[in-house]
Structures are given as C-alpha cells and as structure tokens.
C-alpha cells in the first residue's frame, strides 16, 4: 500500500516535470557514456599490457664487428665469454629458457618479418648475435636487464617496453580526457537533478505540507523525490550502457574479427558484465547524493 503510494507519487512527479526528467536522462546518459568509455579504454590498456608484457623476451645483444667501441671495449665477444654468459643465464632462477640466435638466424628472422627491399642487401655479419631469454616472471624484466647490461661481451639489453610506452601514453591520455568529460557531465547531471527536485518540491509543496501535518514520516515524504532522480538516472545509465554495447559491438568487435588481428580487444561481454553495471551504479549513487543534498535545502520536513 505504502509502496504503491510512493511509486504513484514518483510517477506523478516525473510526468509533471517531463521535460526536466528527459533532460536529466539525457545528460546522465552522456556523462555515463563518457565514463564507461574511459573505463573500457582503461581495461583495454590493462589487457594490452598483460599480453605484451607476457610476450616480452629479454634480448641480450652480443658484441660483434659492427658494435660501437664504447659499448664493447674488448671488441667481439670471445667464445669463453659467450659460454660463461650462457652458463650464467641457465643457472639464473629468474630465467625460464634461453635461446641462442646466431647472426645467420638473426638474418633469417629479420627477412621473415621485413619487406625484401630492406633485407636484400643485408648480410649476416651486419646483424648482432644474441641470447633470447624468456623469464619466469615478466615483471622482473628491469632487474634482469640491468644485471646483464654490464656483463662482459654484451653490447646492449634494450628495454622492449620502451617501444610500447608511447601507445600506452596515448591511451592513458584518452582515458583521462574521457574521465574528465565524464566528471564534468556528471556534475551537470547532479545539478540538473537538484534543480528538478527544487521545482518538484515547489510544485508539490501543498501535498508535502499536508503530509507533514498528518504525520507522514520524513522518509515517506522524501522518497518519491529521491526515486524520481534515481529512476531518471537509471534510465540514463541503461541507455549509456546500450550505447557502449553498440559502440563495442559494431565498432571494436569488427576490428577484432579482421584476419590476423590477434590481440584481444574489449568485447560486449565486458560491457554487459562489468562496465554497464558500474556506470549504472555510479549514476544511481550520484543521483541519490544530489537528491538528498537538495532535499535538505528545498524540502522542509
């Protein structure tokens, strides 16, 4: 009975302030859409980092004829140095496996991954031989690199992560922009909820005065107002989730299905099980905060 009454009052409020309610729904939708986009980009960054870091090998390039003098003061690596390095790597507990890549193999690998125009004039002695090391825990990359950087006969241990860093930086900036817009829009939607409640409180002051006088509880008087904001935000959140789903389903997933595209991208399941519920929850919580705040100011109980 009382629930029916509260829901009825709420529906009346939404109908009476129809245009304001629509505004709340739309602004909430846009803000949550940006918020959700930020979350998805962030998730994608996480996936990429995981995948790429797992593939990371430590490449230890050895000194050869073409090496720079300041890196290799002793000239080309000696057989003794190479054997010592191999033994050291094989006994290192952080190392899972060690592959040796000779100059000839390096040339072959390079030819496989590059266009002929570049590789045609290349000869094996122009490329360095190297140890390719797979780590037990890829997170220990930095320590391992540092340890072998200064070993005798080693020319360089380049940080492969540095190659990926610009990509991650771009994605981080994109995330921040999306989240910044989301914060701004969320602020707008909170102010709209607050204004709507102020209007509703004014247009229904006669009802609330009577409710107060006959002894209705504070919760019962305020609940319809709060629910109005919550329902509007809920609709906005569901619409935003729908828009994210569409964006992922018709945009990102098509990219994923292209032949040769092996990196996992965010998919609709991520939207439905993770991002969607999060943005709807955030929208509802913000609406409740905005309503309670403005009720304190505009509705005497």
């Amino acid at each position: 009975m009382r629930l029916g009454f509260v829901l009825g009052e709420m529906a009346t409020g939404l109908r009476r302030n129809f245009t304001m309610s629509v505004a709340v729904v739309l602004v909430t939708m846009v803000s949550l859409f940006f918020f959700g986009t930020g979350l998805l980009v962030q998730k994608q960054v996480g996936i990429l980092k995981g995948e790429w870091y797992d593939r990371v090998q430590v490449s230890i390039f050895l000194c050869g004829d073409t090496s720079l003098d300041e890196r290799c003061p002793g000239g080309s690596i000696t057989d003794a140095q190479r054997d010592a390095l191999r033994t050291q790597l094989q006994s290192d507990p952080r190392v899972e496996r060690v592959y040796y890549e000779s100059q000839q193999q390096a040339l072959e690998n390079f030819k496989e991954t590059s266009v002929p125009a570049i590789t045609d004039n290349l000869t094996a002695d122009q490329l360095p031989e190297s140890f390719r090391v797979r780590l037990v825990d890829p997170q220990q990359y930095r320590e391992v690199s540092a340890d072998y950087q200064t070993a005798a006969g080693v020319e360089d241990v380049p940080d492969q992560r540095a190659i990926l860093q610009p990509l991650f930086t771009v994605l981080d900036v994109a995330t921040n922009i999306a989240l910044g817009l989301a914060a701004l829009m969320l602020l707008c939607s909170m102010m709209l909820v607050s204004t709507t409640i102020r209007l509703t409180a004014f247009s229904r002051r006669r009802e609330t005065t009577i409710m107060r006088l006959v002894g209705a509880s504070r919760a019962l008087i305020q609940l319809p107002f709060v629910l109005e904001g919550v329902v509007a935000s809920l609709i906005g959140g569901v619409l935003a989730s729908g828009a994210l789903w569409a964006m992922v389903n018709f945009g990102v997933s098509r990219l994923q299905n292209r032949p040769g595209f092996t990196t996992r991208l965010v998919d609709t399941a991520d939207v439905l099980t993770e991002t969607g519920p999060i943005i709807i929850g955030v929208g509802v919580v913000f609406a409740i905060i905005a309503s309670l705040f403005s009720l304190r100011r505009w509705l005497k109980v």
Binding site: M1, R2, F5, R206, E207, T209, I210, M211, R212, L213, V214, G215, A216, S217, R218, L220, I221
Partner: protein, 229 residues
C-alpha cells in the same frame, strides 16, 4: 492534554516576543477559543503545539509528551495525534473529496480495507455523503471546509487545531461548521480554535483564552469574545 509552562517565543534577536511567559492548561475534551488581534501570538501558539517551531524557553507538553525535547524523527508521531484545519482549507485540487480524505490515511500506510471503511464514515460525519467524487472547486466554501475537517479528523486525533476555520465563510455557513466542530468535540476530541469571529465565540459560550502582545490577558469558562466590545 496541552500544557504550556512559562513558554516564550522570540523570532529573532532583539524582536518583541511573539509569546511571553505563557502558562496554560487545556484538558482532554476541552473546547477552547484562542482570541486576540492579529500578531497577538495565536498562530505561534498553534505552531508550538505542532512543533513547527521550538519555544525559546519554557516547556510545552502535548498528550503527555514534552514537545521541546522530542527528537525530530518522532515529530511525525506527535502530529498523528493532532488534526489541523486552516482558513484556506488546503485541499488538493487534483484529488476528489474521497481521495483528499483518504490521502491522510494513505501516507500513514493504513491498510486499504481500513481506508475503505473509515473514509465514508468520516465523510458521513461531516455531512458530505454523496459528494465523494466531486473535486474541491466544485464545492462551496463550507463544503470544502467540511472536507478539510474530515481529513483532519479521519485518523481520530486526540486534538483538533483550527486556525480561523470560519475566516473565509459567511456567517450562516460558519454556524454549520461550528456545529460540526461541537459534534467532534463531543466524541472526546480536544479542540483548540484560533479565531477573530466574535459572533461565533459569543454564541458558543465555550472557554475563551485571550492573547494580547504574546501574553494571556484573559482565560474564562463560557466566555465571550471581548469584554471591551
């Protein structure tokens, strides 16, 4: 039922008190007229009973509760024991007569069958049987005030406060409203009515409490509106 002990109310620093050292006892079943010119403190008195305002000093007791010390979340319970009627009726224009009265019970969460029984009963008591489906604007002033009284009384409060209930009505209609209030009083409900209407006070011959500048200047049983008139 209502006890004021040395109650003062000052609305703002440096202002003349709206009520000054008012001590008054109203017993269960009393019918009391609160008279006095505008600004004499009648409305403030009623607002203190309802805890719409806090007294600046002194104690206000209503139905055995110390109103001044009442926690804010318990105020609704106090108000459920008090019905209020106003000069301007304060009916909801988009609800029918029946819905206006039922509203008071709905917001208290009364079960449907209780509402279905109590509302027609109360409408019968105030003489509005047959007009349940009308809207307030389709009724005369007197009928609208009867709806308001029905709404105030439907929950069978121990106290009925009336703030100038006949202020907008012609003398003949006012008499009808007073008869209705008298009938409600006979059911054991305490009635406190603030009024300017000297004819009515003189006719009814009930207890009269006169306020002037926030002080009780007269309190007599079976009194008239003003000795000086």
């Amino acid at each position: 039922m209502i006890t004021f002990e040395h109650v003062s109310k000052v609305y703002g620093e440096g202002h003349r008190p709206a009520l000054a050292e008012v001590t008054l006892q109203i017993d269960k079943g009393d019918f009391v007229f609160l008279v006095g010119p505008s600004g004499s403190g009648k409305s403030t008195f009623l607002r203190l009973v309802l805890k719409e305002e806090r007294s600046s000093s002194g104690s206000v007791q209503v139905n055995g509760r110390d109103v001044g010390r009442l926690r804010s979340w318990k105020v609704p319970q106090l108000r459920r024991q008090i019905g209020v009627v106003f000069q301007d009726f304060r009916l909801l224009a988009d609800k029918s007569v029946y819905e206006n009265v039922a509203f008071a019970l709905q917001v208290l969460g009364k079960p449907r069958h209780v509402i279905a029984q109590t509302v027609p009963e109360t409408l019968g008591l105030v003489g509005l049987t047959g007009k349940e489906k009308r809207r307030p604007h389709e009724l005369s002033g007197g009928e609208q005030q009867r709806v308001a009284i029905a709404r105030a009384f439907v929950n069978r409060p121990a106290i009925l406060l009336a703030d100038e209930p006949t202020g907008n009505l012609d003398p003949e209609t006012s008499v009808g409203i007073m008869k209705l209030l008298d009938r409600i009083n006979r059911t054991g409900t305490t009635i406190l009515m603030a009024t300017h209407d000297d004819d009515i006070v003189d006719q009814m011959r009930k207890r009269v409490v006169e306020l002037r500048d926030g002080r009780v200047v007269r309190d007599e049983d079976r009194g008239v509106y003003g000795s000086g008139r």
